[in-house]
C-alpha cells in the first residue's frame, strides 16, 4: 500500500512538473527555451492602414447594395409562395399528420410540440442543450473573474459597488421579490412538469425558474442565493441535467424507441417528463449563469 501510495505521489509530482521519474524515462518532459508568446507583427503598417480605411469607406455602400438585392430576391420568393393559412399548403403533408395522430399512444404527450421536439426529434434537442451548455461555458471564459484578468482597481470598484448596494437597499424590489418569487418558482415548476399536456415544457419552464432565481438574486444580492446555490451546486446541476438527457435518450434509442412505458406509465408523460426535467435544469442554470456572469463575474 505504501509503495503504491509513493508511486501515486511520485506520479502526482510528475504531473505537476516537480519531479521526473528517472528509472522510467520513456519520454522526457523537459522545458525547452521559452518561445515568444506573440510573434512580432511584421506587416507593413502603412499599407495595412490604408487597406483598413479603404475597407471602411466602401463597406457601407457594398452592404447596402447586398441588402437591397437580398430583400428583393426574398420578396419575389415570398410572393410566389402558396397563400397563408390554407389547409392544402405543401407544408401540411403526411409528416405532421402522423405526429398529430400518433403522439398520444407513441410518446404519451398530448402536446404535439413537446412530443415532437423531445421524442421524435430528440437528438435535435440534445444538440441544442449542448449549445446552451457551451454558450454558458464560453461566457464563463470571457467574463469569469480570476487573478489573471482583474486589476486591483476592478476589485476595489466591485467592493465599493457592493457596499453601496448594501447601504441603499431597495425596499420595493425586496418586498416584491419576497412576495413574488415563491409564486414564480411554483409556476415554473408547473410549466416544467405539465409540459406534456399543456403549453410549456423544458425550455419555457426552465427559463421561468431561471427568472425567479434572477429576481431573488437582484433583490437580495448574490450572497443570499449562494447559501443554497453556490458554484459547486451550480456545476453539478448543470452537468447532471445534460447527462440525464444523454442517458435517458440513449436508453430510449437502445431499446428500440419503445418508450419507458414499463416503468413510467404513458399517462404521466412516459419519456417526455424526465427529459423535460433534464432540459429545464440545463436552461434554468444557463439563464442564471448568464445573469451571474454579467453582474459580478462570479457565481
Amino acid at each position: 500500500m505504501s509503495k503504491k501510495e509513493s508511486a501515486w505521489t511520485r506520479f502526482a509530482a510528475w504531473v505537476n512538473g516537480e519531479h521526473e521519474p528517472a528509472e522510467s524515462r520513456l519520454f522526457s518532459m523537459g522545458m525547452g527555451p521559452r518561445k515568444e508568446r506573440r510573434p512580432e507583427i511584421t506587416l507593413p503598417k502603412r499599407e495595412e492602414k490604408q487597406r483598413l480605411h479603404g475597407f471602411l469607406s466602401w463597406y457601407p455602400v457594398a452592404s447596402a447594395v447586398i441588402g437591397v438585392i437580398l430583400v428583393g430576391i426574398l420578396l419575389a420568393t415570398v410572393l410566389a409562395m402558396p397563400s397563408f393559412g390554407q389547409v392544402e399548403n405543401p407544408t401540411n403533408n403526411e409528416v405532421p399528420a402522423h405526429y398529430l395522430q400518433h403522439t398520444r399512444e407513441e410518446t404519451g404527450a398530448s402536446n404535439a410540440v413537446a412530443g415532437m421536439i423531445l421524442n421524435y426529434r430528440g437528438f435535435d434537442t440534445f444538440g441544442e442543450s449542448c449549445v446552451l451548455f457551451l454558450a454558458v461555458s464560453c461566457v464563463f471564459i470571457l467574463l469569469l473573474r480570476d487573478e489573471n484578468n482583474t486589476s486591483q482597481k476592478d476589485l476595489e470598484q466591485a467592493q465599493r459597488r457592493e457596499q453601496r448596494r448594501k447601504r441603499r437597499q431597495d425596499v420595493i424590489l425586496q418586498e416584491a421579490a419576497r412576495l413574488l418569487s415563491p409564486f414564480i418558482l411554483l409556476f415554473g415548476a408547473y410549466m416544467l412538469l405539465g409540459g406534456h399536456h399543456s403549453p410549456g415544457g423544458g425550455f419555457s419552464g426552465g427559463a421561468v425558474l431561471g427568472g425567479a432565481l434572477i429576481l431573488y438574486a437582484s433583490a437580495f444580492g448574490q450572497d443570499a442565493i449562494r447559501r443554497f446555490f453556490n458554484e459547486k451546486v451550480y456545476n453539478t446541476v448543470r452537468v447532471i441535467g445534460l447527462m440525464l438527457y444523454a442517458v435517458l435518450f440513449g436508453y430510449y434509442i437502445f431499446t428500440g424507441a419503445n418508450g419507458l412505458e414499463n416503468h413510467i406509465p404513458l399517462d404521466y408523460g412516459g419519456l417526455i417528463l424526465p427529459i423535460d426535467i433534464a432540459v429545464g435544469l440545463v436552461v434554468a442554470c444557463t439563464m442564471y449563469g448568464f445573469y451571474a456572469m454579467f453582474t459580478r463575474g462570479e457565481l
Binding site: 483598413l52 410572393l79 407544408t91 398529430l100 398530448s110 435535435d124
Partner: protein, 126 residues
C-alpha cells in the same frame, strides 16, 4: 391589383422579409456594437415569424390533441413550432455571447463605437 392581392394574402411572410431587411441593414450599417446585436436579434425574429406562419392553418386549434380519433387538419402544423421553440432559446444564448464579447472589448478599449475602436487600435499600434 394582383400584386396587392398577393401581398395581402402573404402578409406575414412579407412582414418577415421586411423585418429581415431592417435587421440586416442595422447589423451591417450601425457603428455601435450594441445596436448591431439588436439588429441581429430582429433578423432572428423575422426568420421565426416566416417559419411559424408557414405552419398556420386558418381556423385550426393549437396542437394539443384530444383523446380518440384525431382529424389532422383540425390542428396547426407542430413542426415549425418545434423548430422555432429551439431557435428562440439559441438566439438568446448567441446574443448573450456577443454581449459578453462587447463587455470585454469595452474593458480593453473603453468604447463600443466601431470607428473609435479602429482609431484606438491604430493608436495602440503606433
Amino acid at each position: 391589383m394582383d400584386l396587392i392581392q398577393r401581398i395581402l394574402e402573404n402578409r406575414f411572410s412579407v412582414t418577415a422579409v421586411i423585418l429581415f431587411g431592417i435587421g440586416f441593414a442595422n447589423l451591417m450599417l450601425q457603428y455601435n456594437l450594441v445596436k448591431k446585436v439588436v439588429g441581429f436579434n430582429i433578423m432572428d425574429s423575422a426568420v421565426f415569424l416566416l417559419l411559424a406562419s408557414q405552419g398556420y392553418i386558418e381556423g385550426a386549434m393549437p396542437p394539443i390533441v384530444a383523446e380518440g380519433a384525431v382529424e389532422a387538419t383540425a390542428y396547426i402544423n407542430p413542426i415549425p413550432s418545434g423548430l422555432v421553440l429551439t431557435g428562440i432559446v439559441v438566439s438568446v444564448s448567441v446574443s448573450a455571447f456577443s454581449l459578453a464579447l462587447i463587455q470585454r472589448i469595452y474593458h480593453k478599449y473603453g468604447t463600443v463605437d466601431l470607428r473609435e475602436l479602429v482609431m484606438r487600435t491604430e493608436k495602440e499600434e503606433d
